[in-house]
């Protein structure tokens, strides 16, 4: 009887998890990869490539270039108005992840 209950619990459980999986499949994953923490905030100021843009566009820029700029902003080597204050909020690892994601955006 104990074994029977366990078996039925397993059966019901696995069917329910199957249902959840099917439900989940109705939700497609993000198109261009999952944005790492902080990455989606950049486009508040850094827009798409446009002639005469006052703020540098970041989508599609080489990853190393973004990482280097962020490091220089953090150390104060590169002059900034606001990016020095923002760059200090991200670790090297976080910055690399964001830069890599930005470089892959269309």
């Amino acid at each position: 009887m104990g074994r029977g209950r366990l078996a039925s619990a397993l059966t019901l459980g696995s069917m329910m998890s199957m249902a959840v999986t099917m439900m989940a499949e109705a939700v497609p994953a993000a198109a261009q990869g999952v944005a790492p923490p902080g990455a989606t905030a950049c486009s508040g100021c850094h827009g798409p490539v446009a002639p005469g843009a006052a703020v540098a566009p970041l989508h599609g820029r080489p990853s190393e270039e973004i990482v280097a700029a962020m490091q220089d902003f953090r150390t104060g080597q590169r002059p900034a108005t606001v990016m020095d204050r923002i760059a200090k909020g991200f670790t090297d690892e976080e910055t690399r992840a964001i830069a890599s994601w930005l470089s892959q955006q269309p």
Binding site: R5, V20, A26, G38, T40, S43, C45, G47, A54, T81
Partner: protein, 422 residues
Amino acid sequence: MSQALTRRTILKTAAIGAAAATFSCRTAAQTPPKVVVVGGGFGGATCARELKRRGLAVTLVEASAVYTACPFSNAVLAGLRPIEAQQFKLDAVEKAGVDIVQKMATGVDPQTRRVALEDGSSLDYDRLVLSPGVDIRFDALPGYDEAAAAIMPHAWKAGEQTLLLRRQLEAMDDGGTFVMAAPGNPFRCPPGPYERASLIAHYLKTHKPRSKLLILDAKDSFSKQRLFQAAWQDFYPNMIEWVSLSTGGKVIEVDAKTKTLVTDFGRHTGDVVNVIPPQRAGRIAQVAGAADRSGWCPIDPVTFESRLQPNIHVIGDASIAGGMPKSAFSANAQGKVCAAAIASLLRGEGPTEPKLINTCYSLVAPDYGISVAGVYSPRNGVLTDVEGAGGTSPVNAPPSFRAQEAVYAEAWFQTTTSEVYG
């Protein structure tokens, strides 16, 4: 005996399980999860587009056909910008695949997951996002009701109120007094009253130089205070007077008939009076039971899901977002994070811990901008400033630096409004 019973139990349970699974499959195939977003401002419109981009079915409920943006509306007051530069339609959001319902949301039933609309119709949801902005509290300051706001405008929701205050300023004689009542924390756009004072002083200096500007404040300190006050001394000497809470600045009553603001220490009458009253989360958040006794909405800092109502998320000015100020930049950043979290939750995955940014620009004069920025992450259940990051523009900076920030302020507005509405 027990064996027979057991077999029967298994068969029965399996049958129920199979039925349940079949039902779920059919439900999943025919009706993918639905997300409803209420509010077409910076938070709601951003979130709706981002949810759609992630392949979800999204309905955006917004009563107004035209959204009038608050950032830069102080420049409209000062005659530096037409109101049309602040106005946006939801056409592009609709074109991006979001269903737009141009109706007022009047109720939410969290149990049946249903939003009621003004015409009696309703929308079902799996997840609901509320981005209703703020409501002016017409019950908080004795004498300040909707009728009083037609005489002493708040202009804290951009649109007709902005234009009314603008007309009053234009009609004021040179040598007149402009009086502003600034609220206690928290409120929409913390540096806003002081940017407004700056740009109105710019207008007065240019057109009515004998005039004065008095700020009666319910606080002892304010956002970017050192920067504002230093610039006021340089640009508008002897024109702006700021009265703090501890020196008797808190307005406790108003009299619209005589355009008088009453404090514990005296009465101040102005030729033009701007009352920025206390605020709370927009009405639909109160109706949904998502606001606490403070009038604002406590949220989980990872998903922006309400602490009070499951499956309801609150973003933007209405939310209690810890260190993040009530700004359009914050609402935009939160809209994206909230959409990502909802997509993860609907896929049955745990959401990733987010990191958010805010940057708020203020103009002190047309070519003089200052900013405050912050980076935030969840800590002990609250969105908290990342230590060592953020802060305001330097106190000692050359005019070229201020001019550059004024350019960036305009660039931010153009970029963010084209991301949200373009």
